[in-house]
């Protein structure tokens, strides 16, 4: 050894250069790395629980068939086949069974609807009186299988109804500062909400606003009136400045706006397309709500005293009668209640519809709406479920948590339940409990279909299902290489050296055992030339 080296300590005397200590240090690094791999794998992998894909596809294929039985009077016996085919063509989701005369009683099942012969067109409860003239098939079809109104809002189990009284300018002229909203709702809205209570759960809110400017200038007409052209109506709602509903929940809202034009813009009229004033003061925005324009009668006294201070008006329930009549009609349309064919009159003799206030709709309308909504819900939840599994299949980085899994299963369960009720012959269901009214049977169907819909859309829109952002492969290298390459290389090299040294040592030891053991013990084992 050169003399210079004597200044340094002999490496074999440093404690951490001791073979076993050094090997322990290197091994501990490796142990930590090996132990960390599962942790790394778990934290970087995406949780993708399995969805019942095949079941979803199977359920989504199934067709909904809601049973419906009609009993015709003997006199209509020739019409049976015609009615049957008529329904098959228009409404596939209905399983219509038509019987006539004595067959009705023979089949031993109470029919949902009966058709009797009378010289007038009238309905009473679930009985239709039909004259011999006129097409019975068309009447029944328009009663039981109408198309859903495109203006109606999509089905939701909960709705908020927001009633707003807007003063265009509350600073001058007559100002409405109050309205008997409770009374008006009691009279005009409650009958509808209670009649539809098996379909929806309603929350009602109301407000009065004193400054609600329009976003455009209404057209000035002769004799001091102002007009709203059809184009104006489409931009009438000034959503930037009018706050029409509270944002307390995410339920869909139906808006009803009573607009009081400012004093200098009265009367404000809706114009027809040819520019002549329309007799109507109400219009409906599909799926959004309804608007009624209320022109206050100009008080004769304020004509001469021009700088009249703002006069306060309170609208009584009687003042609101016309406006709320329009609101209730708009609400009926928006909620998709089918209209009765105009020729049909409703008999008021039946006990359930004794006063027109208690039930504004006939059983035919409610039943039909229940069927339409059930059909819509089933179709939508089938679609949503199918889309959910499809999207999860197609997008590989999309996490699927337990919540989604449960929601899909729950929805599937509800869907199966509906289809089961229907598939094991609706009639036996009805005959088994002859006292179960049709509406109750239908509303239980709707309840399950609504559950299926809610759960399926919750699953599809689950916030946890946000797909991982897309990373190209080079991004991954760019993230991992700088981090690990510099750390791994010394470790790998050190491990390789150690393994090599250990193997060499073993070989020497073996050789020494063969020759003579004393030699090895003398020299320090690390004395090798590098």
């Amino acid at each position: 050894m050169p003399p210079v080296a004597s200044r340094f300590r002999d490496p074999s005397t440093i404690f951490f250069q001791n073979d076993s200590v050094r090997r322990c240090i290197i091994a501990s690094y490796w142990i930590i790395i090996v132990l960390a791999i599962p942790l790394w794998w778990k934290t970087t992998s995406i949780e993708r629980l399995g969805l019942p894909t095949s079941q979803v596809y199977a359920e989504a294929e199934k067709k909904l068939r809601i049973p419906l039985s009609i009993c015709l009077d003997e006199i209509f016996i020739d019409e049976v086949a015609k009615v049957m085919t008529g329904f098959q063509d228009t409404a596939e989701y209905l399983d219509v069974k038509v019987t006539a005369g004595w067959e009705c009683n023979q089949s031993n099942s109470s029919s949902d609807y009966t058709v009797a012969w009378e010289d007038k067109l009238e309905i009473q409860d679930r009985t239709l009186y039909h004259p011999l003239s006129g097409s019975l098939t068309n009447t029944l079809k328009s009663l039981l299988a109408p198309q859903i109104d495109p203006r109606a809002a999509q089905y939701a189990p909960r709705y908020r109804l927001s009633f707003t009284l807007l003063n265009e300018d509350g600073s001058a002229g007559q100002v409405v500062n109050g309205w008997d909203i409770q009374e008006a709702i009691q009279r005009h809205v409650s009958p509808i909400t209670s009649a539809l209570s098996m379909l929806h759960n309603f929350t009602i809110e109301s407000q009065v606003q004193f400054h609600a400017p329009l976003a455009f200038e209404p057209q000035s007409l002769s004799e001091g009136a102002y007009g709203l052209t059809p184009e104006d109506l489409t931009v009438f709602v000034n959503s930037a400045e009018w706050t029409l509903s509270s944002s307390s929940s995410n339920d869909p809202v139906l808006h009803f706006v009573l607009f009081v034009p400012s004093a200098e813009r009265r009367p404000l009229r809706i114009l027809n397309e040819d520019g002549t004033p329309s007799t109507s003061s109400a219009f409906l925005i599909p799926q959004w709500g309804g608007i009624v324009i209320l022109n206050l009668p100009s008080p004769s006294s304020s004509q001469d005293e021009s700088p009249s201070p703002s006069e306060r008006v309170r609208l009584t329930a009687d003042d609101l009668r016309q406006s709320f009549g329009a609101f209730s009609r708009q609400m009926t349309t928006l909620l998709g209640v089918p209209k009765l064919p105009p020729a049909i009159s409703v008999s008021s003799s039946s006990p359930s519809s004794s006063s027109s206030f208690s039930t504004p709709f006939t059983h035919w309308q409610i039943d039909t709406l229940l069927r339409l909504r059930t059909h819509e819900n089933i179709r939508r939840s089938q679609d949503t479920l199918r889309s959910t599994v499809k999207v999860v299949d197609e997008i590989e980085g999309m996490p699927v948590g337990e919540e989604v899994q449960n929601q899909v299963r729950g929805s599937l369960g509800a869907l199966k339940h509906v289809l089961e009720i229907l598939s094991d012959d609706g009639n036996t269901q009805l005959t088994a409990t002859p006292n179960t009214p049709t509406s109750q049977y239908l509303s239980s169907l709707l309840a399950y279909s609504a559950r299926a819909l809610t759960l399926s859309s919750k699953a599809f829109f689950n916030p946890g299902m946000l797909a991982m952002l897309y990373f190209p492969a080079e991004h991954k290298y760019a993230v991992y290489t700088p981090l690990f390459a510099s750390a791994m290389i010394p470790l790998v090299v050190a491990a390789m050296r150690e393994v090599k040294a250990w193997m060499k040592e073993r070989k020497e030891k073996r050789a020494a055992l063969g020759g003579g053991g004393g030699e090895v013990r003398d020299g320090p084992p690390e004395q090798r030339e590098d």
Binding site: T234, S239, S247, A326, V391, I395, A467, A478, V493
Partner: protein
Amino acid sequence: MRFLPLLFPLALFSYTLASQQHTNNWAVLVCSSRYWFNYRHMANALGMYRTVKRLGIPDSNIILMLADDAACNDRNKFSGSVYANPGRHLDLYGDNIEVDYRGYEVTVENFLRLLTGRLEDSVPRSKRLLTDSNSNIFIYLTGHGGNEFLKFQDNEEVSAHDIADAFHQMYQGGRYKEIFFMVDTCQANSMYSKFYSPNILATGSSVVGENSYSHENDYDIGVAVIDSYTHYILEYMEKVNKTSRLTMADLFTSYDVPKIGSHPGVRSDLFSRPLGPQHPMASYGRGHGWKVEGEWTGREQEPYKRDREALITDFFGGVVSVDVEGECESDDFSYRPASEEISKPSPPSFNPSLSSHPKSSSRSYFDSFPFLRASLAFFLLGLLFAFAFGGRISRR
């Protein structure tokens, strides 16, 4: 393309459905940049906001994502205002700006959640895209981007794959009827190249490998105030009013490459309706200034489309129809807007002052970042370290 066989039946299916009108319009306007020197991107988004609002989309149906640090920036000499032209004729920040996602809320995650509807229950209605299968959506993106990505606030990126997947989920979830996607960024046309869901019409400001340029500077404000592509779009949109019958073909054929400075692209192969009269669109991309013909994807399908023409107002409109109700139920009638063309130019406009200011490039400095080279460099560095010190550490 593994989705092509899947698309064909879908396209056929949509041909039969599309004739039904949409019932509502929505707009999602995203400015993905922040900081003062990106003033022009905020002006882009606000200009678009003003236009969609003017054409009748109510504020409740506009989702505006904006860093919003320009109007009240300390460096803004005209505090509280954002202008899109050097003359400062029109304050885009004037009144009634409703920014739904502001500042640090403008993230890739929020954008994708907004589109797909996967939001927490606590998110208010104003931050939700409450569309249904009858909604037409206009989506406008602006910011710094590159090949197949768009940078969000110098912090993260959304890739073309992410947006394509989000659109697909929207399609599966019945969240749109048609989408009009417009993007103004460098290499913008790559952003729509990955789409695979039907009924999407897309347009972008520049082809792959090409920058998108800013239009002009205002020397009092001190920065570029608007991007060129958006400027000419907005200028064209001033010709459109609520009852206009101008078609998408009219908009696209108004692209002028020498003026814009980049080659805008159109993608219509996923869109089922014809863009407009065949004669102006037939020569799209073939005139003066167009280098290549590849800037219109879907040119071949165009003559075979049979449906209503795609109007500009289909995507920039308000409530499509209202029903005036009579006093008695029977005499209500349904209304469709009148269909004659009135194209009166409205007074405040994005007037082109057409001065030839030096064009400042808005090329992103992360543009096609050489990740592989970077990682290789790190790898070699690591190796070097290993050999230099590894032996000493382990042995002597």
